[in-house]
Subunit: 340 residues, 2 copies
């Protein structure tokens, strides 16, 4: 990055399927000024999330889509460069929706100050101590509400959210089975994170694998992917099963089609199951509660996490694609500039 | 019926699709004796319900399927003929799972005594003051939990459960839209029951009709049918919409296939919707609460209902088919014998 210019990824079209390169353009612009009562923030880390693909599309969604011509939206951690806001000084570290760019001019109301614990890397605040951690915490404890001894299945279990969900369910005393896309990821889940079992979803019969690893049936399914996994899980749910729809990444490149619901839908009725959609921002005011619990679990090493930091704002679209191919490991982050 | 014999519809095979005639046989047998500590009950009314089709199939369901060779299961109201049980005398009116037959020998623990209010016909205890009423009451107030001013859509709204659900939602102060299969049924919903609008689902574009009748979107959907209706509703749900899956009758003739879930599934996520399966027997202990409320509403005429009584046990299979073609009006009942 340059001190003189602001590189900005702007959305130039609605992407078709996975062709996001056709929909984004990197432009070099003047660095904006800090607004009255606001801040100029230099972005350090840009969070790369499945929901970016949703925001690029024009469908009715949980917030406004990114408009054509706008900077691409994204969560960031940055350092205050200039402040016109009381209580903020240059050098302060903040989290905000800084977007896919080097600098953001933003109201002080729209940033969250990060008071770093001494022993945690800054990137942790984009993982377990950021939206990712809050998503796992509230999705599991407020929506799924597992009880000790229940069987919890998590999809995309080696991903940023899934890996935390599985560990939190273990902390709760549940039997936990995760699905992931490689033998290495599956080994990480079982050997390092303490999952009871892991299924490589690319290995043949999902229902058979679930039946073997969940001999007592499935009480909770924390779904990040949708599609075939959800179908397979529904065949094996127990009475009063709870299914959290946290993400449907397998359908995000075809969102205009609506996304087909699960087959074996009759089991929703037969088993009095609940399927509930969940967006973490609904719990924004309760984030401190999640971060207090997660902070303790990190400290006592009950919770582990991985971040996968890729260098360079210019590579952001390629990094986003990794989410859909699974060729990454842990929370995907683009490093935009150096930590101070 | 005869005093000398017990006619029994037995399940002789698993029906394919809607060919239930191939799966049932009417046999004439000896009238059983009242068991020790139990009752011999003469069936008067046999409730005909969509779930009968589920019980005929072999799929994993919410209770055991009817086994091949067994009498077909069904809810009944009858009169005690002989009693070996303390507290019951010949002439007492009871509700139980008396099955598709003239007489049932049954434990006294398995019957519910009906203490008739003076001014209600006995058939009311198979409608609003029976499982049907409890289904509407608990499905609406415990699962959907509508708030005044919300928009509630009910499918099969001229049916036994749907017509009560819609009226209860009106009592709650909701805007209520029902779907039904004929202009006459739609007129009954709006003109007699006070629904705000009714949609004949056989008339073209469901989404368009829902958009016109639910200009503020849909907050609650009480689903009795599944299939295309659920798809259409999902396109128009509001934030935190609640969908009660009470029945999936459009899929019951193809249950072995599992029943496809709704298209537009992405809206479960985007709108943080809840889809919840519901079986009324989970609320058995709380039935008195429902019947107390419903009894008052019947008395004050806030609640109306229709029963459609067809004569003759021998016609039970044909009556069941009416549920799937919709050629009936209100709660379907087979009269097996005369009221005392």
């Amino acid at each position: 990055m340059s001190d003189q210019a602001n590189r900005v990824w702007r959305l130039t079209a609605r992407p078709e399927s996975d062709r996001i390169d056709d929909a984004l353009e990197l432009e070099t612009e003047a660095v904006p000024s800090a607004p009255e009562g606001g801040l100029l923030v230099r972005n350090i880390y840009l969070s790369i999330d499945p929901t970016h693909r949703i925001w690029m599309s024009e469908i009715d969604q949980y917030m406004d889509p990114v408009e054509i011509g706008e900077p691409m939206r994204g969560g960031t951690i940055g350092v205050v460069n200039r402040s016109n806001a009381e209580g903020f000084s240059p050098g302060d570290i903040v989290a905000c929706q800084g977007g896919w760019q080097d600098y953001v001019a933003i109201s002080a109301k729209m940033v969250r100050r990060i008071d770093r614990a001494s022993n945690l890397p800054l990137s942790a605040y984009m993982g377990p101590l950021g939206n990712i951690g809050a998503t796992a915490y509230f999705g599991l404890f407020e929506i799924a509400r597992p009880r000790p001894g229940e069987t919890v299945v998590v999809s995309a279990a080696a991903g940023a959210v899934g890996s935390l969900v599985g560990q939190m369910a273990k902390i709760m005393g549940c039997r936990v089975v995760g699905t992931a896309g490689s033998p290495e990821k599956c080994a990480w889940l079982v050997d390092d994170l303490g999952f009871d079992a892991a299924i490589n979803y690319k290995d043949g019969d999902l229902i058979k694998a679930l039946r073997e690893t969940c001999p007592g049936g499935i009480d909770v399914y924390f779904d990040n992917v949708g599609g075939a996994m959800l179908n397979a899980v529904l065949t094996l749910i127990n009475l009063n099963a709870r299914i959290v729809v946290c993400g449907l990444i397998s359908t995000y490149n075809d969102l205009e089609q609506g996304g087909d619901g699960p087959a074996m839908f009759r089991n929703v009725l037969m088993k009095r199951a609940t399927i509930q959609g969940f967006i973490v921002s609904d719990f924004l005011r309760r984030y401190p509660e999640a971060f207090a619990a997660i902070g303790q679990w990190l400290e006592t090493r009950l919770l582990q996490y991985r971040v996968d930091i890729r260098q360079g704002l210019e590579n952001a679209p390629d990094v986003l694609k990794l989410l859909f191919t699974g060729d990454h490991s842990g929370k995907l982050i683009v490093q935009v500039s150096e930590e101070p």
